[in-house]
Amino acid sequence: MGLELFNTLILLLLVVAAIIALRVKDLLTASVVFAVYSFLMCLLWAEMGAVDVAFTEATVGAGISTVVMIATIFNLKRKSSD
């Protein structure tokens, strides 16, 4: 039962994180929130028994993707119009 509560909590947080990542006007914040989203996703998958997928998402989604995205944003404008 505790696990299901945990599951539900993460699912709701995921939606919140996704919306924030798309709404926030600062791209750097957006990519960090997206990293949070990825890590939540990773937790969820680990909880669902997909350990390999969770591991990959942790290294790729929350790790490399974010680093690469931030590296790119440093070469671009940080502000977004929407």
Partner: protein, 249 residues
């Protein structure tokens, strides 16, 4: 206009909700996906066919090894395409950089990283080699390995990282990874099986057919790891410097 884009989104949403009604129950053991002969074969026979305890690794590198080969190729393509897009692009510095590269790397950061890098790299090897038994494998190990080079670039500067892993070598290593993967497949084809039929390697190596699969999988994972390591670093290096490979974060 913004409102209009909601229409396709809502249409897709309605479709998906409509379909969700027909889904088998959550976690149902007799759902087609879980009860199909395919899934039960993977679960029951992985140990028998390949002697690998981690079914995901076995399915990834052996049963569906052809997919994984192209997954590696996709990573390789990403690296090549990024290079193709950014190389010699008019790196006009019209915009002033909104950050400055500190001439002297921070001593606390560098010393910490100096301690961390070997640990990270050994962990990467562990993840790669231990993927047969625990979560992990070539891809994850490769990413961790690539991250260690990115860490060098972040804490010192890109030149230092590039001195350890030059861009030319990156692509040679990435190519070698694919050659290793496809080469194992080709070798097993020359030994009389189908492409990627690792069991045929038992003809030349003194192991059983199952163990031949086991060890070939390790070789394949190393190939994946090489490609991924090189390309992840190359992606970072190219994107952080707009392809100039100078300066960077």
């Amino acid at each position: 206009m913004k409102k209009l884009s909601l229409i396709p989104v809502l249409v897709v949403g309605a479709l998906l909700i409509y379909a969700a009604d027909d889904f088998p129950e959550w976690g149902n053991l007799s759902a087609p996906a879980s009860a199909s002969p395919l899934s039960s074969h993977f679960i029951s026979n992985t140990g028998f066919d390949t002697e690998v305890p981690n079914m995901v690794t076995a399915v990834l590198a052996d049963y569906r090894g052809f997919d994984t080969m192209f997954e590696t190729v996709v990573v390789f393509i990403a690296g090549m395409a990024v290079l193709a897009i950014l190389k010699n692009s008019s790196g006009s510095n019209s915009k002033k950089k909104n950050f400055h590269i500190e001439t002297e790397p921070d001593i606390i950061v560098t010393n910490t990283v100096r301690l961390l890098i070997p640990v990270i790299q050994i962990f990467a090897f562990y993840v790669l080699a231990h993927g047969h038994v625990s979560p992990g494998g070539g891809f994850q190990g490769g990413v961790v390995m690539g991250a260690s080079f990115i860490m060098i670039a972040l804490s010192w500067d890109l030149e230092k990282a590039l001195a350890r892993f030059p861009m030319d070598r990156c692509f040679i290593v990435a190519g070698l990874g694919i050659v290793l993967y496809a080469g194992i497949g080709l070798l097993s084809m020359f030994l009389g099986g189908e492409f990627l039929d690792y069991a045929e390697l038992a003809n030349v190596f003194p192991v059983s057919r199952e163990m031949a699969r086991y060890h070939a999988m390790l070789g394949v994972e190393i190939g994946v790891g090489l490609t991924v390591t090189a390309i992840m670093f190359a992606l970072y290096a190219n994107l952080a410097t707009e392809g100039r490979l100078k300066g960077g974060l």
